[in-house]
Amino acid sequence: MVKVIGESVKRVEDRRFITGRARYTDDIKLPRMTYASIVRSPHAHARINGIDVAEASAAPGVVAVFKGEDLHQESVISVPCGWQVDFKNGDQMLEPPHPVLASGKVRHVGDAVAVVVAESAAQAKDAAELVEVDYEVLEFVVDSLEAVADGAPLVHDDVPDNIPFDWELGDQEKTDAAMAAADHVVTLEYRNQRLIPNAIEPRSAIGDYDVASEHYTLYTSSQNPHVIRLLMCAFVLNLPEHKVRIVSPDVGGGFGSKIPHYIEEALVTWCAGQLGRPVKWTAERSESFTTDVHGRDHVTKAELGLDNDGNFVGLRVKTYANMGAYLSTFSSCIPTYLHGTLMQGLYTTPAIHVDVTAVFTNTTPTDAYRGAGRPEATYLLERLVDQAALKLGYDPVELRKKNFIPPFDGVNQPGYETQVAMTYDSGDYEPVLNRALEMLDYEAVRKEQAAARTQGRLLGIGFSTYVEACGIAPSAVVGALGARAGLFESAVVRVQPTGKVTVLVGSHSHGQGHETTFSQLVADRLGVPMDDVDIVHGDTDLVPFGMGTYGSRSLAVGGSAIVKSLDKVIEKGTTIAAHLMEAAAEDLEFAEGKWTVKGTDRSITFGDVALTAYVPHNYPEGLEPGLDFTSFYDPVNFTFPFGAHIAVVEVDADTGKVTLKRFVACDDVGNVVNPMIVDGQVHGGLAQGIGQALLEGALYDDNAQLISASYMDYAMPRADDFPEFEIDRCVTPCPHNPLGVKGAGETGTIGSTPAIVNAVLDALWHLGVRDMEMPLTPESVWRAINAAASI
């Protein structure tokens, strides 16, 4: 039989995408469809004294104009946050309303004020220009440190100091003592800048209402249709969940930005109910920039204590996390449970304390962006380690190896208990670093660096060794930490009478290639050709309740749910096969798509058993017909991939331009089902991580206008910004899921950013440059070089 697990099988979903036959939300056109345009605030903070819709309502093609008070009269409630993080003192998280349309006040540029529904998109946009809003502009605040300062304007009147919650993890007393006793303390104070995810498909949503059956359908570009259905029905529109169907068809990239339940989803659904006609809204790119959730935006002070032998003795962290104007769906868990819990890194640091203050500002809400908290944690740790190496004269490789946690496989050795509430599943950290060094030829590159320096050329080598948490997540654990949802995943394996297999999954593919990877699991387990397998996702009327795709969870959690159902199919199939062959079930073995009586040549095929299950004439007594199983898999732990990334850069001292000459990454994501797809995930992740280091950043001006709100102004990574990536893998299986997989969707982004910044600092350290803020644009690098030279 052909081996399918571990093979770079070409993607089965590609054909529709490369022939222009994919179906994204904006491609859908329903009969009698109308089009919505949203009137948005041009101000960061303003009171709405009145909205005049008379002229807009009379404009050609306009079907309706709605404002906040129209919705609220219909008992539309605000959009909730999905994770409750209470204050350190036990007080409940402050969660001010996030209304579907602004009510009384607007709190960031782009906040939705009114909606115009018209016969065409152009007519809706024309009429939206005619809505007159009487704004009374209020004082605003953009920066998280300014927002917590005395006398700062309040984003929400009932949230004192603009702080919705604060949070801590680790042992403060022990850490303070360790830091006081440390021989050296290396300190960094920096901003992990705000980023804009920029999925290339703009968000889109179509609401539809069938008056006769009282059923709603929402088509939406979401990573998690069931989550949207639950939040929208139960918390926003008060709709009966069994009469609401959410379809997330092809989705053009997510990167976290399509996790949250957005107001536009509730808005078009509500409008469709009011009008009895489908209502479509598709974001213009400027709307995407100002209303898709942003990522990162931390202000951090981090201190690493070391003894005279280079051992890490303590880590102390203080972070202000900018939440923007409202608490988006998963915003509260990102700077806390997905950030603070990663502070152990892959080091034995015995004392750690992390303290986080969440802050409201008059900016676009922040939420998950690829990595979501773990890139921020890795940036913090890995910058500190290279900084310590440069400052104290260690080789960054040796300093890391000295502090690495020794290997543990989670089977023969227990998992590793961190100082910050996690138990790592399995880890073996030196091999990934050694392999990366080998790929780089470290000694040769160090020699090249020294030789280049004698010629006045500035080469730098930067490292990052990371561990991250994915396979999100054990429901009971996250529930105890404030999650308002379970984080299991679901899968149905439906064997058809002819032996073809339909698999319905609660995870959602928006580029990850699930249709291929999941088909490989089925083909491997059942011994059927991949062509006989179809993967269905993204429709709440078809697939069982699932939590969707983010946090590199789809294979570790969703794939495990598929395996559970496949095992149930084989178990029941064995009973049927035993009956048909008049043998005992325990005498049968299932391999390569057939059951064989051990030690004989008597066998029966999977297809014959499938047909029998649906034509049960000659059938085991008491056994139900059918071969169709649903499983829910709730993981027992997170998974913890890790890896080593090395960047080699050259800095042009005259222009400040950083050229990335090489990027080497050796990751360990556990077992791999499809190496080609995993490589692709790594490439894309690297591009985003390197983009943060060198190019990207959201910028608000003095009027709180987002001035990086177009592709002319926000520096997206382009094809010529990168060298060819040099990547490889080691394999340390996850001990607690049936596939031994860990997750590969975010490693590239999590690991790469600090390697780049470390490399640039390595190139410039001898000139006196000690730190720089991302992104490392030519101007900022040039200024840093010149500032150092003038000291």
């Binding site: 070409k10 498909e201 053009g252 990239g253 060819e724």
Partner: protein
């Protein structure tokens, strides 16, 4: 006042009355139902809407339908010959040059024009030629390989 246009799209002649302000991308998507051409930014910044107009790669979100009057347009839907994929389409599958697929039609059309101008481009030339097309998924590496593959195949 509507404006009368005649265009050839993927080998078929069309004649329509359109609004003066209508964009070529709207014409392709809304009038002809050719939704393979995507709108990622409306400002020619992302390249998802790239089509060939008289053999040249253009960003159809910033071309008026009226400007394309009399022109010959090729979209992603016009590349395959029945079930037989164009070498570039095949290349994107073989080299895993796509993930979410949203930028893919524009990438393929940009690649098509590049290979027309330069049948054997270097990696550097490919990366330079794709500067106007954004992809957030792939890190571009496999897109470059896809175009190399197609060049070798043609």
């Amino acid at each position: 006042m509507p404006f009368s246009v005649r265009l050839t799209v993927n080998g078929t002649d069309y004649e329509h009355e359109v609004e003066h302000r209508q964009l070529l991308t709207e014409y392709l998507r809304e009038v002809l139902g050719l939704t393979g051409t995507h709108v990622g930014c409306d400002t020619s910044g992302c390249g998802a809407c790239t089509v060939l107009l008289d053999g040249k790669a253009v960003k159809s979100c910033t071309v008026l339908t009226a400007q394309a009057d009399g022109g010959n347009v090729t979209t992603i839907e016009g590349l395959a010959n029945g079930n037989e994929l164009h070498p570039l389409q095949e290349a994107f599958n073989v080299e895993h040059g796509l993930q979410c697929g949203f930028c893919t039609p524009g990438m393929i059309m940009a690649g098509l024009e590049l290979l027309d101008r330069n049948p054997n481009p270097s990696n550097e030339e490919i990366r330079h030629a794709l500067e106007g097309n954004l992809c957030r998924c792939t890190g571009y590496e496999n897109i470059v390989r896809s175009i190399k593959y197609a060049a070798a195949k043609s």
